[in-house]
Symmetry: C2
Subunit: 111 residues, 2 copies
DNA sequence: GACTCATACATAAGACACTCATGTATAGCA
DNA sequence: TGCTATACATGAGTGTCTTATGTATGAGTC
C-alpha cells in the first residue's frame, strides 16, 4: 500500500530495540509482523539505515550470518534508544491529534 | 511538529465533508481541532487543494465571504466522498499495521 | 489619515524520503 | 545447470513538504 513518508524510521528503531539485526532481516520482520501491510522497499531501506547511522542512532559492522553470508549488522546506540523514545512519543501524539481532527464535528459551518 | 508526508489529504477531505469551506478556513479548522499539534503551512495547503481539485475530488468557485473578502470555496465531489472513505480506511489500516509492528515482541533474535 | 493585524490566496526554490529499476554476489536446492 | 532466496547497493525520477516571499484588503487603533 502507499505509505506515509517519514514513518519508517520508528519501525526500524523499534525493530532494532529487540537486538542487532541486518537490513534484510529488519525489512522481513516489518513485513511479517504487519501482515505484509507495511513493506519497505530495498531502495528505501538501505539509504534509511545509512541515514540513521549517520545520525549516530545506529552502529554497524559487517558480519557473517549463520547462513554464511556477509551482512551489515546494525545495533541501536544509546542515542538511538533515546531517539526511539522521542519518535514513539511523537508518533502517538500525531495519531492522537489526527484522530481528534477526524472525530470532531463542527457546531456550525467551517469558515 | 514535523509531519508525515501524504497524511494531510485525508484531513482536508474530512474537513470538507462537513460542508464547503475555503483554504484558509480549512487550515484554521485543522489547527484548532488538533490543538495546534497539526499545522498545515500555506505553501503546502494551496498546492494540495489544487491537486485534489485536479483529481476531481474537489470542486471550487470564487465567492465573497461574509467578511467581504474573495475566497476560493471548495466542495467535496461525489468522487471526493468515495476517495475520503477509501483514504480513511487506508489510514486506519496503516495505523493498525504500524501498531502491530510496534507491539510485537519476537520470540527469538530477528534474523 | 496612517499603521498594524488578521484574512485570503499564490508561487518559487530547495530539501528529502520515497518508488522503481537495475546491478552484484552467493548459498542452497532440484 | 538453473532457479530461488538472501544480502547489499545505487541512480533516476517523483511528489509532498518547508521556507520565503509576494499581493491585496477589511477592520480596528492611535
Amino acid at each position: 500500500m502507499h505509505l506515509f513518508k517519514g514513518t519508517f524510521d520508528v519501525l526500524i528503531l523499534k525493530t532494532l530495540s529487540w537486538g542487532p539485526a541486518h537490513g534484510y532481516a529488519i525489512s522481513r520482520w516489518i513485513g511479517q509482523t504487519s501482515g505484509d501491510d507495511l513493506t519497505i522497499e530495498e531502495g528505501a531501506l538501505y539509504p534509511a539505515l545509512r541515514r540513521l547511522e549517520a545520525k549516530g542512532w545506529l552502529s554497524a559492522k559487517w558480519k557473517t550470518t549463520e547462513t554464511g553470508r556477509d551482512a551489515r549488522v546494525y545495533s541501536l546506540t544509546d542515542d538511538g534508544r533515546r531517539a526511539l523514545r522521542r519518535e514513539l512519543a511523537a508518533w502517538e501524539k500525531y495519531v492522537t491529534a489526527f484522530t481528534r481532527v477526524l472525530q470532531t464535528k463542527p457546531q456550525e459551518a467551517i469558515s
